[in-house]
Structure formats: C-alpha cells, structure tokens
C-alpha cells in the first residue's frame, strides 16, 4: 500500500491549522513547521485544512493496484435451518441502494443443501444474479468449504463490494476470506454509502466501545468487504415481478473437505430464547439484588413474549448465565422494546442496547445515567412496580 504524506517545507508557514485538523493528534509543530508522527493514518483531513497547500498526500490509485474492473455488490446469503436468513434480505436491500451509486449488479452467493426456495426468496428481494452451490454437505455452515467456495466465486465474479451479516457465521467466514484475498474487511458496519467520486465504499461502524463512529474505506484493493450488523439495513419489499439469473457452481474436488467438523448441534433450550433475536427484552442489573428476583423479570418477559437480559454486574454476581449478558463483553441487541430494570446504564451496557427501538428504564435512583438516554424513564422501586406491572398486564389480558 504505497502511500505517503509530505510537508512541503518552503510553503509551510507553521500556522498550525493542520495540527488542530488532525483526528489522530499526529501533527505537531517542530522548529516552526509541521511534523507528522507515526500516528498518522494518511486520512487526508489535514490536506484540505492547509491554507498554503503545503501538505502533499500521495495515494496509490486503484488502477495502479490492479483493482480496476471490479464491479457490483455481492451478498453472502446466510442460511439458518435450511432457509435464507432475514439478514441476507437486509443486505440485498443495502446492496440495491449501493448499486444505484456504484452501478454494478446486485448478486448473491447461496451455499446450501437445497437452494430452490432460497433462490426464489433472494430474487424477490432484489438479487439479480445468484451464484448457487448445492450439496448435501452444505446443509449447515462450515468454515473451510464455505471460505473456499466464496473465495473462488469472488475471484471469478469480481464484485466491487462483498457484504455478509455480522453474525457468528459472517464474522467467522469473512475475515478468513478477506485475508486470503489480501483485501480489507470492516467489521459490524451500521452505515454504508458509496462515494462515486473516490470510487470507495464508506463503511461506518462503532468503535471504542461505541464511544465513536469510525468511517473506514478500503482504497486500493478489491473487493471492499464488510460485515453488517443485523437489523440495521432495510430489506426491499418482496416483489414477485423481479427477475434473476441463477448461476450454478459445482464444487471442485477437495473443496468441500474440512478439518473442523460439526458433530452435533444443540439448539438453545426452550424458554431461554436467544436474546440477540428477541423482539422484547426485559433486562436486570445490580438493582435486582438476587438471582431469585430474576423470576420477576422472567414472568414479565413471558407475559410480553420476550427474553430476559442481564447486565455484566448481574452476570458476574452469578444471578444470570453469560448468554444473557447485554453489553460490550456480552451481546449487542436491537429489540423493539428494551425494558431495563435496576440497570444504571454504564457505557459498557449502553453500547450493547442503545440501538433498541425503544428503551424503557426502571430505577429507584433518579440520577442513574440510564435516564439520560432512555425513551421512557420510571423512577420507582423495582420490587414495587414490577409485581404491580405483572398484575396490570394480566388484568388487561383478562
């Protein structure tokens, strides 16, 4: 990635405009002129800030890097229980919007045991071409065969952009493929835009525990790869009139072989619905005081058809098992309703649930940080309001 930054000495007046423009604190004034440290990421923010055009950024062009000729947006269509996962339809929606700016086709890759239904679903939701690999061995996701097949399809189809969901599957598969393609991958994006002028995908994602939003580009190598957070992008309405082409790809000898082999799949227990999928989450924190009190939350979650979440404090105290933990070191959730009970709202928790459609907080402490970012706050003793709430819901349901 040959690129460099140079301060043109005769032009630099040491005015310091670039120093304050640098997002990374990489420029300082040394002996009256600007000096760039190794913290520089060559982002170019300083280039336009200089009133004297004394900063010269050299970037290798896509043509020089041999990255021209790649076009279109490809979606890796994840399947779950033999059906195309909803996340794939969201990605097709995002791909359709990107293709308006990028210009290339919207394609999908489906690796499956039986693709007839899946192909129909993908076409209805905007896939113009589907690369389909059908084999009984592809009934359940497996890293090595999926990586080999996706790698070969990408090399042949040459898409400008490849998207997958930021699920355990997408986050297992994409880094392996991106490394082998010697290209960039941006994790867990929440925003995608195509900059036609720079011919670059602008990939926006939370970083530093959600404290900042970083926009990342992959300038010189193709494809530009991203995993995208589920439930952020909007799927297109299904349309029976859409047409799509199916390109069958036959696995090559050895391509389906794997060293890591799944022996067994244990579905999550009944009643402990996976919180990352839940539409309603009733979550408890330190304020719940004991594991027994989580029964209150389970009861309310049951009445609302939701799942039970927990803060790190509650999990570390052993009140709830780790799969229920919401937050930076737990899961990121985006339910329709997040009911936070006895949770103060520390940054680590907030980053795991702030994308919920509606956040409702119940806390005895009116100064708890959670009241600063919830939609509805109830200053109350959880041990009084929750039993009353359960009674009220039952009463209305008759």
């Amino acid at each position: 990635m040959t690129a460099s930054i140079e301060i043109l000495q005769p032009s630099c007046t040491g005015c310091g405009a670039c120093v304050s423009s640098c997002p990374f604190g990489a420029i300082s004034l040394v002996d009256g002129t600007a000096s760039v440290s190794e913290a520089c990421t060559l982002c170019g923010a300083c280039e336009s800030s200089c009133p004297f055009s004394a900063i010269l950024l050299r970037r290798r062009s896509v043509e020089e890097a041999g990255a021209s000729g790649w076009t279109g947006t490809m979606v890796y269509a994840e399947q779950r229980d033999g059906s195309v996962d909803r996340s794939a339809l969201e990605l097709l929606g995002a791909a359709s919007r990107l293709s308006e700016a990028e210009g290339g086709p919207v394609t999908a890759v489906l690796l499956t045991a039986d693709g007839s239904e899946g192909c129909r679903t993908l076409i209805r939701h905007g896939a113009e071409r589907i690369y389909l690999v059908e084999d009984p061995a592809l009934g359940h996701y497996c890293t090595e065969p999926s990586a080999r097949l996706l790698l070969r399809i990408i090399r042949q189809a040459k898409p400008a952009v490849v998207l997958a969901a930021a699920t355990t599957t997408g986050r297992d598969l994409m880094p392996r493929v991106a490394k082998l393609l010697d290209t960039g991958l941006t994790a867990d994006c929440t925003g995608l835009e195509y900059d036609t002028e720079k011919d670059s995908l602008l990939q926006t994602r939370p970083a530093f525990g959600g404290n900042i939003m970083a926009t990342i580009i992959c300038e010189h190598t193709r494809p530009q790869m991203a995993t995208v957070r589920p439930r952020v992008m909007k799927a297109l309405e299904a349309d029976e009139a859409r047409q799509g082409e199916i390109v069958r790809v036959e696995p090559l000898p050895g391509e389906l072989e794997t060293r890591a082999r799944m022996k067994e799949f244990i579905p999550v227990e009944e009643g402990i619905a996976d919180i990352s999928e839940a539409r309603v989450i009733v979550s408890g924190g330190r304020g719940m005081k004991s594991p027994e009190n989580f029964a209150l939350l389970t009861e309310i979650a049951g009445l609302l058809g939701g799942s039970v979440g927990a803060s790190r404090a509650a999990v570390d105290s052993g009140w709830m098992p780790y799969p229920h933990q919401v937050g930076q070191t737990g899961k990121t959730v985006q339910p329709g309703i997040y009911l936070a009970c006895g949770i103060s709202g520390a940054v680590q928790h907030r980053v795991g649930m702030q994308s919920s459609d509606r956040i409702i907080a119940v806390n005895r402490d009116a100064s708890a940080p959670i009241f600063g970012f919830c939609d509805e706050g109830f200053v109350a003793d959880i041990f009084e309001i929750l039993p009353a709430l359960a009674r009220e819901i039952r009463r209305r349901r008759g």
Binding site: A39, P175, T183, I217, A260, R261, E264, R279, R396
Partner: protein, 262 residues
C-alpha cells in the same frame, strides 16, 4: 503441547472521552489494560497446559509499553512471552496484525494451538483470530464457549452461535477464539508476580519475522480510517414519577401499546 496465546493492550474504553469541540478521542489519562477477553484466552491455555504438560507462550504486537500486559501474563503463569514491536508495525489493521502474528507462530514452530480472545474491546472486530488461521492455512473454531476435550492430536469445542451450540471436532493445529463463558481466569500468584518482574521478554521486529515492509503496519493495511465522529446521542426521554401502582399502569400502557402495533 505448545500453546500460543495472542493478546492485545487496549485503552480502557469505559474511560475514553470525546473532545466535544474537535470530535476527537481524548486518550490522555486513559489507562491501558489487557483486553478483557484475553484473560479467558490465557486461562484456557494455562488450564490445558496444567492438564497435559507443555508450555504456554503469550505474544502481543504493540508499542514497547505493551510489554506490561506480557508481564501480567507471566504473573498468571505463562512460560514465555514475546513482544512483537517495530515502528514498521504501527498503524496495522486486522489484515496486517494477523499477518504479523502468524509470522510469529511460524517462527516459533511446533505450535499446536493458537488461542485469542473473541475480540478486542477497542476495535470489536473479532477478525484477527480467523486472519491468523487463514495466514497459516489452519482450521479455526471461533466463538468458543467451552473446550470439551483436548489431547495431543485433536480438540472438541463448543461454539456459541445464533440459535444454539455447535459441537466441533478438529485435529490440531487449530486457532480458537474464546468467549467469557470458557473459564474463570486465575489471579496472579505471588510467585508469578515475582517472576514477572524479572522475566526476560524478547522483542521481535519486522526483519526477525522475515516480513516485508509492504505487508506490515500501515503499509500492509488495506483499510484506512477516514473520519471519526461522535455518535448521535439519544436524547433523554420522558421521566415518570409517582406511586408504584400509577407507574405500573403507565408502563403497561407503553409496553402493551407497542406490542399491539407490532
């Protein structure tokens, strides 16, 4: 059994603040810590070494001060620690980081198992583990909640995925990324702490690893951050106070109203 655990020094993201005027990160005074997930990676390595014999080697890529987390790893009981540090490594994204760590695995030789934490809390990418596996052409088992068994030739581990648990069997060598579920990390022992103070920590640079400049650090990183911004803050909502009974009625209105719409 030779186990390599790759760890990372990160800013304590709970302490990171944004300069509201410039929209930049204020790093001053933010403590650097060992990535919390890495303690589970270290413990997983240590407990299998304790059971099977062999050694655990902690490796980090970072600036010279990243040595601090290697000493912490020594105090927990690792047998050796190596610092990958070179000006040429600065500015690495996950491609260049995994490329560099994989080179260390090759240089050490005879490694049966590489373990990393699920992800680091500064970038939250979870990409370095699979990147190492790809570089080495090893299999990978990511998001491991429990290692069921390990012997000289094979491993059985549970992956926590959407909707359930995959039980995966794999011959060695393999790269694992572990979740907090996997174990309870041990506290440093007094003897470990003493050992940590004096432990020799070799420092390997780019040429030691036989890497080209174009494949490390900023030069070797396909991605580039072009903008950082403060996330749109969620405005505070309506705050309700009153008796528990009244509040419960209001809360039910909100909960059931929303439910009715869906």
């Amino acid at each position: 059994m030779r186990i390599l655990v790759a760890i990372k020094q990160v800013p304590d993201t709970a302490e990171v603040r944004i300069d509201p005027d410039r929209g930049t990160l204020v790093r001053d005074g933010v403590p650097s810590i060992m990535n919390p997930f890495d303690a589970y990676a270290l413990e997983e390595g240590l407990r299998w070494r304790d059971a099977l014999g062999g050694e655990v080697i902690a490796v980090t890529m970072g600036p010279p001060q990243a040595e601090a987390i290697l000493r912490e790893a020594v105090s927990m009981g690792v047998d050796a620690a190596i610092l990958l540090s070179d000006r040429a490594f600065a500015g690495a994204d996950t491609w260049a980081t995994s490329h560099t760590l994989a080179a260390a695995v090759r240089k050490l030789g005879g490694v049966d198992l590489v373990i990393t934490g699920k992800q680091a809390i500064d970038g939250d990418t979870a990409q370095t583990g699979p990147g190492i596996a790809a570089s080495l052409n090893w299999p990978q088992i990511t998001f491991v909640g429990r290692v069921r068994s390990l012997d000289a030739t094979a491993i059985v581990a549970e992956r926590d995925v959407e909707g359930g648990v995959e039980v995966v069997e794999c011959p060695l060598p393999v790269v694992l990324t572990v979740l907090k579920d996997a174990n309870v990390p041990r506290m440093p022992s007094l003897r470990g702490k003493m050992k940590a103070r004096t432990a020799e920590i070799p420092r390997w640079g780019r040429t030691d690893l036989g890497l080209e400049e174009k494949d490390t650090g900023l030069e070797g990183s396909p991605t580039r951050v072009v903008r950082i911004a403060t996330p749109e803050s969620r405005p505070g909502g309506t705050i309700h106070t009153g008796t528990a009974e009244d509040l419960a009625v209001k809360l039910a209105d909100i909960l059931l109203g929303e439910e009715g719409k869906a």
